[in-house]
């Protein structure tokens, strides 16, 4: 069984995530899209671990999960605080700083 399919799937997920960041307005959803990108990378990593016969990829995937969790904590804290102030989680509303 070829692993290319997994890689293609991961690439598609990554792209969907990236496009999601560009088109969604809700900060939480944007952030979830970023998480999708990270997880597609995880898929890529474990696939490559299989392909190259090394375990580094799997270990890296663990690290990525931890980092992603930490990022969730920080990110939700920031989004939470801005939501409580503005009563809106739309990234387009946060537009005071420009030019």
């Amino acid at each position: 069984m070829t692993l290319t399919n997994y890689l293609v799937l991961a690439a598609v997920l990554f792209t969907i995530g990236a496009i999601g960041v560009l088109v969604r307005r809700n900060a939480i959803v944007v952030f979830m899209c970023i998480e999708l990108m990270l997880n597609s990378v995880n898929l890529t990593l474990v696939t490559f671990a299989r392909a190259t016969g090394t375990i580094d990829g799997q270990i890296i995937a663990f690290f990525v999960m931890v980092v992603a969790a930490a990022e969730v904590v920080v990110g939700l804290a920031i989004i939470m605080s801005i939501y409580r102030t503005r009563r809106s989680a739309s990234v387009d509303d946060a537009n005071l700083l420009k030019y």
Partner: protein, 530 residues
Amino acid sequence: MGASPVLDTARFDTVAVDAINAPDFSLAGITPLLCVFGAAAVGVLVEAFAPRNVRHPVQVAVALAGTLGALVACVLLAGTREVTAAQALAVDGAGLFLQATIAGLGALSILLFAERSLDPARSSFVASAAVPAGSARDRELMTAQRVQTEVYPLATFAIAGMMLFTAANDLLIMFVALEVLSLPLYLLAGMARRRRLLSQEAALKYFLLGAFASAFFLYGLALVYGSTGSVQLADIRAAGLEDSTSTLPVIGLGLLIVGLMFKASVAPFHTWTPDVYQGSPTPVTAFMAACTKVAAFGAILRLLYVAFGDSEWTWRPLVYGIAIVSMLVGAVLGLTQTDVKRMLAYSSIAHAGFLLTGVLGLGPGGTGSGLQATMFYLLAYGISTVGVFAVVTLVRDGDGEATHLSQWAGLARRSPLTAAIMTLFLLALAGIPLTSGFIGKFTVFRAAIEQGAWPLVVVALVASAIAAFYYLKLVVLMYFSDPAEDGPTVGVPGLPTTIVLAVTVSATLVLGVVPGAVLELAERAAIFGA
């Protein structure tokens, strides 16, 4: 790797078992890192157990002890060359020089954080970030003299991440370090006491874009790993790009570069910079602008020259182009800015371009003077940047810092000393002789010319001339305009800011007038790997 990797279970299993061994570990070599990480952990414990009224002095002391300890440790380690922790960390001249730079600049930033006599509320950080901006509780806290002490462990963690970033000899460690330095910065950016909406917006933008960039970096890591079977820089170098017909590692390199250039605020990945620099509390801006730049360039240099040093003709044209774009974007866009911090952000983008000029000054096989030039430039730029933002914290009106350019008109008449110091830093940023900035620019340009990149240097000179215009515009504004009636006042700095200003002013002058010793130090330290 071929286009269709095939599963080989037997091989996978044997390799997996062999791979697990206890790594070699040189504790001595990573003392600087341990110092800062230790200080950060102690800071968290202090936050947990120390009574509120003693926390501030204790936290400042812990953070300073950690950073200064790391600085001392780097100095003591000078000359060490080894790769430790299962090939994941490099202890070498360049790494130690940059770690010492980050530790020193970090200590100065901590001092700016600790300033308590400028703001009537005794701190530039919000007392409680969880309280919604503009609520009754927020207004109550605005004037209360409660101070936020969590910023110190956060900043210490960021410094530790930055130092790890420059020492990483492994893409995974590089990624972890990238996150360790970024996550606290996202939070710090949103902690301004005044203009909280702007601050929160800055944090949100920095966070979303930073996470987006990390995802690119990570995908690049995965692709490089997939094509070379390893994430260690030495292995990647051994695998090489030219041998492989695959496009995988090339795309991977591109994505890694994107992730790092984002942190270094190089155009076209700079868009977050002006917004975040403007919105963040000024001490945090100083910290980000100075330390993150050093760390990011440390990682860029290591990635390009250690991992991909054998295939530099793949990335050289790209970096060449990015450098030009960055210099021109920074110089031209800075012209029409009306906010001091925003203007300095564009200046930072232009400087990133100048630094890339130095990166290109490193020749094949690490020949040429590009590495030492870039390291010196980073040091000089970092010092001036901390200094210039320290001055920004001094100029205040009733609403906090007065950052609009028009408010700086005639500042020389209100406070000649402040204006003189600001002028010195601006001249240093513009690269006028007898300041550190001139020597920095001179050395990077010379390194680039030695590698035949003179067209780049011509562009760099044009960009410097354009950028000099906005620095000098501010100087002219301070000296030759009439001060506004209700203009800002210049606060009397307390001990911490005074120390920062004294150190940065003297360092800017010393590096400009007698740079010999430091240039020599950089030259001797300009070594990658064991």
